[in-house]
Assembly symmetry: C2
Homo-oligomer: 211 residues x 2
Amino acid sequence: MKMLTEIEKVLPSEIEKRSFEIITEELGDKKLVPGTELIVKRCIHTSADFDYAENLVFSEGAVEHAMDAIRRGTPIVTDTQMGKAGINKRKLAEFGSEVYCFMSDEDVAAAAKANGTTRAAASMDKAAALGRDVIFAVGNAPTALVRLYELIKEGKIRPELIIAVPVGFVNVVQSKELILSLKETPSIVARGRKGGSNIAACICNALLYQM
Amino acid sequence: MKMLTEIEKVLPSEIEKRSFEIITEELGDKKLVPGTELIVKRCIHTSADFDYAENLVFSEGAVEHAMDAIRRGTPIVTDTQMGKAGINKRKLAEFGSEVYCFMSDEDVAAAAKANGTTRAAASMDKAAALGRDVIFAVGNAPTALVRLYELIKEGKIRPELIIAVPVGFVNVVQSKELILSLKETPSIVARGRKGGSNIAACICNALLYQM
């Protein structure tokens, strides 16, 4: 009998490969949308939570569209420093792209205070004001998604991709449904309550690692 | 009927309070160990995953012991930059404490290469070499926990607390059981596969917010 504390001999370089084998095995004959498998499996790898095999919704062609955008050097904007920290910036730089998070910026704090919004919403305004193509990776704040929805409806931005994966209990489910209602906006959404900055970063990395 | 996209009117400052009310409500009459409730609930808040009501194991007095250590300015060492990014450093600084992550250090990379270990294991050696009291917050690497176990058994360190919450499929379960077998070491362990850098950071913050 294997002891519960018996450490398996796996080379450091082999750990991720072995993990993905276990995930594939446990997924069994679960059908995943072709082209999305590596993203779904990496979300499970990041969370040990097989719910991500059920809750991730990809708009038609979102993965290819996002990879094209990264190849053009489109930057990623996150709604947390933690999400930014988790994204592989070395890999991103190979495509001439980079990642921004405006959450700690003084002008964002001031705008949020002045307008009675969250800093997350104000940081989306700042991203829109860049006047650039942007990929949004939102893992924390429903208010960021609501603001993106408004900016899109007002014709002020047209995101290359919205990764909509906030986690939580207040307006999380609703804000994701708002993004899903945008039929012209490429999106990857974790429907329901689950997600997080780790999941947002992991989806960005999953895109990068298959390019 | 409430529309799925109908956003609830909740003041930004009230969102967290409302979330904790929902979590408390859904936990129902689930019994939590007195003194650990805020940590368990914050882990659920961070992940929307109620498994944390079942899998978190606290050694006797771990929470009080950890808070005392923080009050003395004991630093936190993480095994990811993402974990470091997620910890409330402003709050930590109020107690004269700070957070370190050695994962990107050149000497750690060199030591790992020379010894055929992971950088996570080498970064634990670097933390031990500080010769200081340390709180470890390990949310990613089982190899970090295995190395901590060895260092403790060799009498080279005596951590004030080990937050043992790596996530994943290879040696994750086993490495946590190793930490649980250390009867003299204060620990907070997410038994099983689940955890993550977000959970490691969240447990640190939950300690800080109740001080």
